[in-house]
Point group: C2
Chain length 246, copies 2
DNA sequence: TAGTGGTCTAGACCACATT
DNA sequence: ATGTGGTCTAGACCACTAC
């Protein structure tokens, strides 16, 4: 068994378990450890790395949760995947596309203060008729329309959400910059036929299938801050995720 | 602040942190703690419960991961949701429907040993032409067809997968009964139009939209055991999940 | 029997938010 | 200044697996 070298800086603001899990993940993606390999035992690793067993254990657990490692009592810890698959994240479509190198842009079609109807009020814990900002954007990727995105945002978190910012940045990116912290998302993914109007906007034939996503986002106080109702051209977009049994 | 009573049995095979997190979750769903309430501090809770702080902390963390609680350093731990939303799980559609009280059944349309084509071989880490079991089922819920489900399963885990068992049980349920432990799923959710044949099977109009799910399942050794390619009547099925920022 | 991961304890120090 | 959660240690005992 090769020694897994590890550079640990206890003075760093980055927690030790995170330093370790990142370097361990790098070792796996580099190929120092390949699928099927066993790690040394937790006790040995903690010794080699010069940290306590609970800290080593926590670092390993991070990679178990990502689906890279599997632990079996009485047996050991084994590498089962070399790379992290994309899991469902709290990122926006904009971030996803940018990460994939697609240079996304947005056309802001509507951006105005509105009043909450019954559905919006229910989703955002408001009263019917309360003010909300409504936003409709057409997301463009690789020069082609990809999605129609409608959002309702509570006024308290709207100050940075300008049309100019939305053209070049994702909504959550803008919110985070205004000290708003999206934390918990409740989403529903479905499919339906496009209407004639939607098809025209997305430059697809009328009745072509859409992948739909409805998402209510809560911040770190449990306050519902945003409702999104999005429709994607199903021939160009799908949702990937990795689920690890808990 | 009311005292959160807790019945802990240290001799139970159920870990203490799990006993605590379940009872705490019950207290929240009962309404003993409502949205916005703060929990006592970790140190106080550990004292009240008669357990160590790391153990109390782990119990709380379970509910944070489920999106029921939010913790803020220097502030405290707050209830943000009363109920656990359905999260993406390693359960089958059968389990989902049964839990919802829909009495699902299956019609096994095809069930035979086949040879892996290029796509199946790639997904399951096999060579082209290797034997795989192919399975096609029509899932019925509330007397109506809901989904067309096609699976390819590696022969090593097939012994319990009989047509009779499949009519009344979910695939993963059968696999688990044969000491196979599904652990990691890589899934892609999309949408497309139905073909005439699919529409006839699902009793929908031809061209109506389908919600599609493709899933590769690995067991606890990292071995790819099963590929599923499923098509759901989009008017009757959608995927719900809760995502908590990590 | 030996070795593994799973759980648990009783402390400690720190960063952060509030008062 | 106080109290919160975040991190970390150095042990301990246990359940499980493999030999």
């Amino acid at each position: 068994m090769t020694i897994l070298t590890m550079e640990i800086n206890p003075a760093s603001p980055v927690p030790i378990y995170h330093q370790v899990s990142e370097q361990l993940q790098d070792a796996i993606s580099r190929g120092d450890l390949v699928k099927g390999d066993f790690l040394p035992s937790e006790v040995l690793l903690a010794e080699q790395w010069g940290i306590s067993r609970p800290t080593a254990r926590r670092a390993i657990q991070d990679l178990v949760d990502k689906g890279l490692l599997v632990r079996k009592r009485g047996v050991g810890t084994q590498v089962v995947n070399a790379r992290v698959q994309r899991s469902v994240r709290l990122s926006s479509l904009f971030d996803d596309l940018a990460a994939a190198g697609s240079k996304p842009t947005s056309v802001v079609q509507h951006w105005a203060l509105d009043t909450a109807n019954s559905e919006v009020a229910t989703a955002l814990d408001l009263t019917v008729g309360a003010p909300v900002m409504q936003l409709r954007r057409l997301r463009i990727a690789d020069m082609l329309p990809l999605a129609i995105m409608v959002n309702w945002i509570i006024p308290e978190v709207c100050q940075g959400v300008t049309a100019a910012a939305l053209q070049e940045h994702g909504l959550y990116e803008i919110l985070r910059a205004s000290r708003v912290r999206p934390r918990i998302a409740h989403q529903v993914i479905g499919a339906r036929m496009s209407t004639a109007e939607e098809a025209a906007m997305l430059k697809i034939s009328s009745g072509a299938p859409l992948l739909t996503m409805r998402r209510v986002m809560q911040d770190d106080s449990g306050r519902s801050i945003e409702l999104g109702s999005h429709a994607y051209n199903a021939t160009r977009y799908s949702v990937e995720m990795t689920v690890v049994d808990s």
